[in-house]
């Protein structure tokens, strides 16, 4: 099997979860596709080296860095006057938009930690390594992030109850 075939297999196997991870982080499926595509292209360039280690971990790292780059670029854009129309519907907790909205309310660092811990299933030490932060920061970010998610859910449940 050629190196390209290996890579194609890797993309096929890893991309579904990478896409969902990127979607949780970015909140936008189109941006998620762009991020994963761009990340995988970078992984391809280094595939020979990367494939002997943990290519998925490397891809996640590239993905998160690209997302940060995108946010920096977007922050330089002028704000739009337009407020997008949004329908108001009663959404359950498994509603995709609902989950992504809850995550989007978290600061980026906390969102990254929560998604990496609870969707990617990485141990705290791996999350620390992936994000280049200390173990303590991972723990505190995860704790704060989960607390905020709890608060948001509780608030929504209360508002539904009234």
């Amino acid at each position: 099997m050629s190196s390209d075939d290996d890579f194609v297999d890797f993309v096929r196997g890893a991309s579904p979860r990478l896409l969902k991870t990127a979607w949780f982080i970015s909140g936008d499926p189109v941006q998620a596709e762009e991020l994963v595509q761009a990340a995988l292209e970078r992984v391809f360039v280094r595939w020979r080296r990367v494939s002997s280690g943990d290519p998925l971990a490397y891809t996640r790292k590239v993905l998160l860095n690209l997302h940060i780059d995108d946010r920096r670029r977007a922050s330089r854009e002028a704000p739009s006057h337009d407020v997008p129309d949004r329908g108001v519907t009663d959404r359950g907790p498994e509603d995709a938009d609902h989950v992504v909205r809850l995550l989007a309310a978290l600061p980026l660092r906390e969102r990254q930690v929560v998604v990496m811990r609870h969707y990617a299933g990485l141990p705290e030490a791996d999350v620390a390594d992936l994000l280049g932060i200390s173990l303590g920061t991972v723990k505190s970010s995860a704790s704060r992030g989960l607390a905020k998610l709890r608060e948001s859910l509780a608030r929504e449940e209360n508002s539904h109850a009234h």
């Binding site: 390209d4 890579f7 194609v8 993309v11 096929r12 991309s15 990478l18 896409l19 969902k20 979607w23 949780f24 499926p29 189109v30 998620a32 596709e33 762009e34 994963v36 595509q37 995988l40 292209e41 970078r42 992984v43 391809f44 360039v45 595939w47 670029r73 854009e77 002028a78 704000p79 739009s80 907790p93 498994e94 995709a96 989950v99 992504v100 929560v114 998604v115 811990r117 609870h118 969707y119 299933g121 989960l146 998610l149 709890r150």
Partner: protein, 347 residues
């Protein structure tokens, strides 16, 4: 909560998203090539060229060394040729099939500021260098990238060609070669432009594009599978390149556009450029294209710029925004059945 959250995240249905592994491979190859070309001037000859066993050296044919107003013809003996500018046309006979790369270098340096390649079969390549400090012509073996996934393209008026012949015009702009799978439901294209993104053909015509998924073969209507074919790509320029592989200070910008077709989710990314052209393809049945900019300006464009193979025509719309301003470009077209939904492009 943590276990619950894991459960909720797992059970959450993500929107339809897809990654084409072969598009990733092609994109990775281009990225690798750009890295090679920009990380070492000497590498301009490109390792792949040397590997092909071609003679590497400064030899130029007499015609190429002394450009004349008329088209000149020679046999290319070196893998990398720097052609002085005079607006002349150069003709080289090439092995077949061959991938040719055209790049532009900064005067007095070996730094490549832009690059293009195309696949040629059984033929010659002409490079017309006009008002440029120099043109670097590199010949790569077809095996460098699979010829059939390079989808030799005539794009932006920068390329014209038929089987066995490619003419490249190296002024104003040029287009990257595209990856267009024959069964593409989506495609990804990249355009590199300079001089403020002004794009025109030799006669000043608007840019159009054709795709040839297989080098030398009959043109394939790659959008045949699309159900509502409003798609295209953006060309434009500003002083801030978005690709790390391009020089930070050059007047070159990388544009990209990505458009999903069958699910009706047109998503077009102008990638930070405030003015330029949106060049696209729409059904021949479409009579009018309407584009709406951020400030409410509306542009109506007839959709008969250039008929293409199949049921499609190419069109172009110029858009402009104030410096630093975010541009949102909404596009829709009218068919006998009525207007399509708006699609949005934004930088």
């Amino acid at each position: 909560m943590p276990t619950d959250l894991t459960d909720v995240l797992e059970r959450t249905s993500a929107p339809v998203m897809h990654i084409d592994p072969y598009a990733v491979v092609s994109g990775g190859r281009r990225r690798r090539l750009r890295r090679r070309l920009t990380t070492g001037g000497a590498a301009l000859g490109v390792a792949a060229v040397v590997a092909a066993g071609l003679v590497v050296g400064p030899e130029l044919t007499r015609d190429a060394q002394r450009p004349t107003p008329a088209a000149s013809t020679g046999t290319l003996t070196s893998s990398t040729v720097t052609v002085p500018l005079k607006g002349d046309r150069y003709s080289y006979r090439l092995a077949s099939p061959t991938v040719v790369e055209f790049g532009r270098v900064k005067q007095g340096t070996r730094q490549v500021v832009d690059l293009q390649r195309a696949t040629i079969v059984n033929g010659q390549a002409w490079v017309q260098a006009k008002n440029r400090p120099g043109v670097v012509l590199g010949i790569l073996p077809a095996t460098f990238g699979r010829a059939d996934d390079l989808a030799a393209s005539a794009g932006s008026g920068a390329w014209e060609g038929a089987d066995g012949r490619v003419v490249g015009r190296m002024y104003a702009t040029y287009a990257r070669v595209y990856d267009v799978p024959a069964d593409a439901a989506r495609f990804r294209g990249r355009i590199y432009a300079d001089e403020g993104g002004r794009v025109h053909g030799p006669g000043g015509e608007l840019p159009t594009v054709e795709f040839r998924p297989h080098a030398g073969g009959d043109p394939v209507t790659v959008w045949a599978n699309s159900t509502d074919g409003l798609y295209g790509y953006l060309v434009g320029g500003d002083p801030s390149p978005t690709s790390a592989a391009l020089p930070e200070s050059g007047p070159v910008a990388q544009q990209q556009a990505m458009v999903s077709l069958p699910d009706g989710r047109g998503d077009i990314d102008t990638d930070g450029v405030e003015q330029g052209w949106f060049v696209g393809v729409a059904p021949k049945a479409a009579s009018t294209l309407e584009a709406r900019l951020t400030d409410g300006t509306t542009i109506l464009t007839p959709l008969t710029t250039k008929p293409l193979d199949g049921d499609y025509s190419a069109f172009a719309v110029e858009y402009r925004g104030a410096p630093g301003q975010q541009v949102r470009l909404m596009l829709r077209y009218r068919t006998p059945q009525g207007w399509t939904q708006w699609r949005q492009a934004a930088n």
